[in-house]
């Protein structure tokens, strides 16, 4: 197991280098000197800040040297300071000489996005697994068909359209849910229970809507997994042994059908992070997606580079965790029988 872990971690290194190459390439897509790319009417684009940027990315040096230096800085997780937001540090907080702490932009945004996505994943799974099971049990019957149709529609709806409709229906017409933001204005003055209620009600729409769109894939996956497992010998054996159908489905089949799900979840991370742009813009949530979009509009290069790299690193870590969980759950991998 340990050997597998080490192997797996080492394997991330070439990937990280690849990621750094691509984000480096993107930065150089902007024709000419990237420091020219800011708004002309943007006062922050003074010659001085441009010079700073040139130094930050060593733009006066040959490309190879630039890349090497960028790699080095990335290794020490130093992504510099934003030039659109008062030189806030891009990644993690810094302390100035007076002991004032300035929080990093990613440091502030990341937990919010992570929380929403994890909650969303929980909801997706808690809906997709039962739906998938039902669909597999009732394969080709009306239950299966209606679940499939529902999923397809969920997958095909433009998320922002559904969001706006639901915001209007639930937030304006019925006033059941808050429309946007993370907290009510009077949040601080609420008692603990009310605070929890307040937070939950603000999170419902931004968490549920992306889950609906993500539901289709996972339900289908569970359904196919279950169907595959139903045809396996051991299930037939179990059935032949006279085990109750209930036991067959929930102890034998489900476990085996759900195993590959772990990998799928790991793979879905970049999509979730990327998908947060639109949802966070609509629902006024200061997460990674909103931060990235703002930075793109402001041409705030240090932040763009920082988010691309951190986002990708997160994906790698997510995949690693998924693989480890898989290895832990599947005895064959644990014993090194299959995979690597």
């Amino acid at each position: 197991m340990l050997k597998y872990l080490i192997k797996r971690v080492l394997w991330m290194i070439p990937l990280l280098i690849g990621i750094s190459l691509i984000s480096f390439f993107i930065m150089h897509l902007a024709p000419g000197d990237i420091t020219n790319n800011e708004g002309a009417f943007n006062p922050k684009a003074s010659e001085e800040s441009r010079q700073k940027l040139r130094e930050l990315y060593n733009l006066d040096k040959p490309v190879i040297v630039q890349y090497g230096l960028w790699l080095k800085r990335m290794g020490s997780l130093d992504f510099g300071n934003s030039f659109a937001s008062h030189q806030k540090p891009v990644f993690w907080q810094t302390n100035d000489k007076d002991g004032n702490v300035t929080k990093g932009m990613i440091q502030e945004a990341l937990p919010i996005t992570l929380m929403i996505n994890i909650l969303g994943l929980v909801i997706t799974l808690s809906l997709a697994i039962p739906l998938g099971i039902v669909a597999a049990r009732k394969y080709t019957l009306w239950q299966d068909k209606s679940i499939t149709l529902f999923n397809f529609i969920g997958f095909s709806i433009p998320g922002f359209w559904l969001s706006l409709l639901l915001m209007y229906w639930l937030g304006v017409m019925n006033n059941w849910l808050p429309i946007s933001g993370l907290h009510s204005i009077n949040y601080e003055s609420l008692d603990t229970w009310a605070k929890i209620k307040d937070s939950i009600s603000h999170l419902i729409l931004p968490v549920v809507i992306p889950s609906v769109t993500g539901l289709a894939g996972i339900t289908l996956f569970v359904k196919n997994g279950m169907l595959d497992v139903f045809h396996q010998d051991y299930i037939t054996t179990a059935r032949a042994k006279g085990l109750s159908e209930h036991k067959v489905v929930y102890t034998h089949a489900l476990r085996n059908a759900l195993l590959p799900l772990i990998t799928i979840i790991g793979l879905s991370i970049p999509g979730l992070i990327g998908g947060s742009v639109i949802a966070e813009t609509i629902f006024a949530i200061p997460g990674m997606g909103k931060l990235f979009f703002d930075s793109v509009l402001m041409r705030d290069f240090p932040v763009i580079m920082g988010i691309l790299t951190i986002g990708s690193a997160l994906t790698l870590i997510g995949n690693l965790l998924a693989d480890l969980a898989y290895a832990w759950a599947d005895p064959r991998v644990r014993r090194g029988v299959v995979r690597n």
């Binding site: 070439p14 990937l15 690849g18 990621i19 190459l21 691509i22 984000s23 993107i26 897509l29 902007a30 790319n37 394969y139 397809f152 529609i153 997958f155 095909s156 709806i157 433009p158 998320g159 922002f160 359209w161 706006l164 409709l165 209007y168 304006v172 196919n224 169907l227 595959d228 045809h231 793979l267 970049p270 999509g271 992070i273 990327g274 998908g275 742009v277 639109i278 813009t281 990235f292 979009f293 793109v296 509009l297 041409r299 763009i304 988010i307 691309l308 986002g311 990708s312 994906t315 790698l316 995949n319």
Partner: protein, 263 residues
Amino acid sequence: MVGFIIIVSVFILAMLAPLISPYDPNNIDVKAILLQPSWQHWMGTDGLGRDVLSRMLYGGRISLLVGLVAVGIATAIGIVLGAISGYYRGWVDTLIMRLVDVMLSIPSFFLILAVIAFLTPSIWNIMIVIGLTSWMGVTRLVRAEFLSLSSREFVMASRTLGAKDARLIFTHLLPNSLTPIIVSAVLGVAGAVLMESGLSFLGLGVQAPQASWGNILTDGKEYIQFAWWLSLFPGLAILITVLGYNLLGEGLRDALDPRSNNK
């Protein structure tokens, strides 16, 4: 089958746009701003008095084009890289597969946003960038097909008979792996259509005054509670088209892929 009918009808409508559009999609009528759907304007008019139905028909061409070209690019790259990877194996294979891994770990929507913004949004840039960031699935697919096919008897046989690489690839391997490629391409078009509407929402999609479903929908979102026809019709059009592609993709998979029959 339903999917096929949907897609074919959507295509026919878009192709026939110049013939069946009741109005010029860019014809402004200041006296007919934001009219409700009526016999004159089946889908109402927009904020400049343009006929929404006509804009939907013309916009459909753009949206479908974006989807097709983007997926075309992705599929072409995927086939080439996947074929090289699966046929030659060895270090080329390793290199390509690592590249796939790298691309898969960068949140692709971030990548698309950044690139489009830096290149200035235009319909061509959008198609190219969506294409360049969505070829990884096809590559893996083609590679897997090639790997499994090359151990089959008929491929081994032609190889021993001295068939050239190119001949082998184009006459045996590629045609036999077409099914999954087509299925994934069809599903990919659905994703690309949705992607364009998302980019439009953020103001980085097809640029006005050119109509696409994405930007008609975005125009309408401001007035979603009042001028419901501005967002309902493009929203439905996207939904139905994407649904159609998905159903078509699934249908093709079930019909063409023998492995799915054993369920």
